[in-house]
């Protein structure tokens, strides 16, 4: 089961929202926890024990840290925190590198567990006495598989009180639908286009560039769409999850890009790694070291192959150079040129993502620079461009604020006509989304006469 399965959209989510409203408030968290565990079991199957194990471990570990802090036992507190961190990181590492099937969402809920232990260990928040509340924070189904990574101290106050108002329900629905449209109508379409190009044995330079653009847009709309769906679904239960994307492809610098892309991961590394290491306040050499550590860990977090390490180093080098050397030169450039350079860095970096090995990366770069001998632009390039022109235009336009401004302009139409036009458009997009989800399950077995 996933957010884009029809069983979830038509049955699971509406039934959960309805029942959560009907159940007395004192039982609501328990109900949501059970629903979340059911969701995880139906999504990840046999890996539920991993999540359960981390839930139980985190509860007792946090309580122990709280006790040691209360006693003023800072020495053993630090040791316990270190041991707990190593243990959780080891579990993550075993699954990432041993070849065992990776439990769905393990990177996300492990980081949530670490957030809890760090916040309790540093005294930023108390250990939750009620295990249901803590376990719900870790396993809450809107965010358990793909985030956003909500920090424990920010979520804790909501666990005791998360009233559902008409506004939160309606806002949540709208956000959820926006995410659904991004994921199904844009991301999946870009994914199809990218896979067709990626399967070509050789291609012209611009075909390879087009493929890279398709991938970068697929990744953005897939992840940001899912995040919107998570935030929207959480809102339907009265929870506020943090924003995870803020138009990253409009960023004017590398640092700005990473304040807009996967915001909660960046915040996690900033609050729990970068700042504790000294941040930017311990001299230039230490700054470089701290950034290198953060970007190495970021790369490792994203994947278990050397390509992801290289990708982390790619961004690390760019961010370091920008902070130390390039900033004053970049400031002299126009906003458009700065944005173009950032996107060049971002999309180039995604080549590490879709290439299984460094050799495949180099092969793709070779294709971009014409190593395939297929020229700069050929009929294939025209085919993939013209067949996806409307999609590409929509995808690029939606990277910025054009959709929001368009919605606002239509809504301002005289009387209520604008509102009804938007509602009609939403209904059409919902119908097309359902149609597309169904089509992804459509499989023809060609007749035996083949």
């Amino acid at each position: 089961m996933s957010f884009v399965s029809l069983l979830f959209l038509v049955v699971f989510l509406p039934a959960s929202v309805l029942l959560a409203r009907l159940i007395p408030e004192r039982f609501r968290n328990t109900f949501l926890l059970l629903v979340s565990l059911l969701f995880y079991a139906w999504s990840a199957g046999r890996n539920l024990p991993v999540l359960l194990g981390e839930m139980v471990f985190t509860y007792f570990a946090a309580r122990e840290l709280q006790r040691r802090r209360a006693r003023g036992d800072t020495g053993t507190l630090s040791f316990c925190l270190l041991a707990d961190t190593v243990l959780l990181a080891a579990v993550l590492a075993v699954y990432k590198y041993s070849g065992l099937p990776l439990p769905a969402g393990i990177s996300f809920f492990t980081f949530s567990a670490l957030s809890c232990l760090f916040d309790v260990g540093r005294g930023k928040a108390d250990a939750e006495k009620n295990p249901v509340s803590l376990w719900l924070y870790l396993a809450f189904f809107p965010k358990v598989l793909m985030g956003p990574i909500a920090q424990y101290a920010d979520m804790l106050p909501q666990m005791d009180s998360h009233p559902v108002s008409a506004a939160s329900l309606e806002r949540g629905t709208l956000r959820f639908l926006a995410g659904l449209f991004k994921k199904v109508l844009l991301a999946d379409a870009f994914g199809d286009a990218f896979r067709q190009i990626h399967a070509l044995p050789q291609m012209a330079s611009m075909t390879a560039v087009l493929g890279t653009v398709f991938y970068g847009l697929q990744l953005y709309y897939d992840f940001s769409g899912y995040s919107d769906m998570a935030i929207g679904a959480a809102s339907m239960f009265g929870f506020r999850l943090p924003r995870n994307f803020d138009h990253p492809y409009t960023a004017g610098s590398a640092s700005d890009f990473w304040r807009r892309w996967h915001i909660t991961l960046g915040a996690w590394f900033r609050d729990y790694v970068y700042i504790p290491l000294g941040g930017s306040r311990a001299g230039k050499a230490r700054l470089v070291l701290n950034l290198a550590v953060v970007w190495l860990l970021t790369g490792i977090w994203h994947g278990n192959t050397v390509n992801f390490v290289l990708w982390g180093l790619w961004w690390g080098i760019i961010v370091i150079l920008e902070k130390l050397v390039l900033a004053r030169f970049l400031d002299k450039l126009s906003g458009v040129l700065r944005c173009a350079l950032v996107n060049l860095a971002a999309f180039s970096g995604w080549i590490f993502f879709f290439s299984p090995t460094p050799g495949d990366c180099l092969h793709w770069w070779g294709q971009i620079f014409g190593a395939a001998g297929a020229g700069f632009w050929n009929s294939q390039t025209t085919w993939y461009l013209t067949g996806n022109l409307i999609l590409l235009a929509a995808g690029i336009a939606a990277c910025g604020t054009i959709p929001a401004r368009l919605v606002s302009r239509i809504r301002k139409c005289r009387g209520r006509s604008g509102v009804w036009i938007l509602a009609g458009l939403t209904a059409l997009l919902l119908l097309l989304s359902v149609a597309r989800i169904l089509s992804s399950t459509y499989q023809t077995f060609l007749y035996a006469a083949f």
Binding site: G45, V419, R436, Y442
Partner: protein
Amino acid sequence: MRRKNVSKGRHFRHIVFCMAALACAVLFAANLLTPDRSFSAAENRSLSARPSLSQCLTSGWGQTADRWYSDQFVLRDTLVKLNSLAGRCAGQREVNGVYIGKDGYLFEKPTAKDPVKTERTAKAIAAFSHENPDLSCSVILVPDAASVLARNLPANAPVSGQTGEIDEFLEQLPASVRKLNASDALIKASGQKTADGEETQVFYRTDHHWTTDGAYAVFQAAQELLNIPEPAAYSRFVVSDSFQGTLASQSADGASKDAVTIYIPDSDVRTTVSYSDLQTRRASVYMPEKLEQKDQYQVFFGGNHPSVEIETTADTGRSLLVFKDSFANSFVPLLTPYYDTIILIDPRYYYENVDAVLSSYGITDVMFLYSADTLWSDTQLADALG
């Protein structure tokens, strides 16, 4: 003004929420009330059955339930067609591996030629011909529709030029094997007009097979190859005008329909057809009952079988063994006046000894009739020839 905009925003959210809630309620009810289907004619497969609720806590139940709900979703086929239409409105000209061409034509994305497999196949045919020097061996290869009807392809559609690929393959065969690249005959026929003044249709619009008219055009070009000095006259009959084939299903495009034709020799030759897998005998190469089903191409021999034996009253002293894929199904009925016995073998389903067939039926001629799309990735023919 600002208050008005805030109120409009609230109103919009309220409408969207009500709409989404209503949509969920209607879909939930509709799916609950609609009985489950066991089979999808459009997809030619069985649909998932409802999983047992008693298993809902077992691993894998979620995926099974998902699959069931999607398979049984109300208006599934209509919504899939809507998605295909939406894609085309957005400018897409490829849906699920099918190119959306001009004039209602659908084209299957070409199969890449596997050099290792095709070389092995060519060597196997050459070896077979060498080991059976008394047999008259011929090879007929049929290109895909994209190679013949390039004018109907969407602009810039990536195609592989199977005409040239077929020539390269045939060059690997020895001189003792008679060869025909069907491309020329099909291209020539596609430019000709029928007696009704319409263009000859050599490939179906909605199916990856050639039409019987296309098969007949290649038959006429192959008469010398097959040593048929005096070809019979044939009468052409249209047996269906509602055929929607594999490509229509694959692309969920229901716009076009094709006519299915058959050619009956004017001579009084009679046939008896025996199907080894069905354990039945028929007095015709055609199965008219298949015209009532989705895949009307199965009117020819009822589709593919491991082997088919055709006995005729032709009395020519010749017996033909055909190694084939499904393209031969609409070609072989044209050969019944010229051979006393015709044995069809589909190596994808046939596991018996070919040498036994050669000796027991007194085979005089052997034909390999394949589409390039099948042969380029095939290994079974080489395995069968041993």
